[in-house]
Symmetry: C2
Subunit: 208 residues, 2 copies
Amino acid sequence: MLRQPQKQIANREKNISRIKEAAEYVFAEHGYFGASFSLIAKQAKLPKSNIIYYFTNKETLYRAVVEDIFDIWRSAADSIKKDNDPSTAIAEYIDTKLEMARNRPFGSKVWANEVIQGAPIVQDYMEDELHRWTNDRMVVIQHWIDSGKLRATSARHLLYLIWAGTQHYADFQHQIETLNDNHPLTDEQWQETKYFLKDIILRGICVE
Amino acid sequence: MLRQPQKQIANREKNISRIKEAAEYVFAEHGYFGASFSLIAKQAKLPKSNIIYYFTNKETLYRAVVEDIFDIWRSAADSIKKDNDPSTAIAEYIDTKLEMARNRPFGSKVWANEVIQGAPIVQDYMEDELHRWTNDRMVVIQHWIDSGKLRATSARHLLYLIWAGTQHYADFQHQIETLNDNHPLTDEQWQETKYFLKDIILRGICVE
DNA sequence: ATCTTTTCTGACTACTTAATCAGTTAAACC
DNA sequence: GGTTTAACTGATTAAGTAGTCAGAAAAGAT
């Protein structure tokens, strides 16, 4: 005899991810203060009280959204490992990061908004997780430099340039589309972007 | 006999620029919706009603702040002219843009916030002024490429990379300082940044 | 000195917001 | 089937918001 008592659990998970998706969108488009429960509720097509039932308050929901994005970004840098070939690893990182800019622009925007405003909510997260994570990657890049596999440039600024160059296409998506005569970028244009970023950055850091 | 009847005019100008400065800061730190008249008033040390007296409403004040920043950015690209030497011109542009990131980070942040949220207020500005301005610069860069003074890369993406790479240090200032052990960048670190960006980007676009 | 115009401001209003809570509905358990 | 527990929600509240407005104060004009 089949038992299917997990109706509640399944429903809970469905609702939570639905709320987070709606919230990511609304926080990105309106900022923390501009995003109201009623807007998020409308977007999620759920009653406002239901959202508060799951997340207690605005800040908790917001944190959930930000942490989700951070986890995804973190995984993008899996290729930055000591034993990998630097050019291939960095090319892969740029590719992945740019695909994320294309596929998850709202998360990127939420993060950008938060940092611009001085990270009032996720300050601790930046000081712990991001700080440690960044240092780890920098050690790898420095190792590549020290072993002569990369030109002697700044590991730190290289990371910043990759972040800036890729996230720009998510965060400033609206500006880029406006300058593209109000059209979203086509597949070819995204391809061109990938090629350009890798071309410039790799040329700048590879030993000649 | 001296006449000094311009007391009103002088005072008006003083107040207006004081309000705009305060507003730039508060909009940057809190976003459009998070920035309230009372916060701006407190920052400017003027009564709330006085701010509304000068700017009528929030949107008008906001537009004034955004247009100010845009004007300043525009002037940064004066070096991008057909007859200039490409490397020197672009190096100069990067330098100037990075100095602005350092000296006027709040303006940059306001612009970033606005664009991230889909430019709800300055859409028209982007479609007219920014669009025309960007196209003009792209024509110059394309001319450099066509006359063999630059490698054949994308003029458009080159501009984006310069914007992204420089503005990052304003918009993500807080993240950068957190990763710098909670210290603002020193003069040498800013110098290093300038050097890095020019090194990578120029190496990427100059004919070998 | 008096009148006019501009500058300025505190008190107020209509509205929106995050969050609470009492009460309802639905699922799980026995 | 009946009971317990979790899921859910509409109505309400207290706090904060943008913007109004009547009238005071200062500056300029004659």
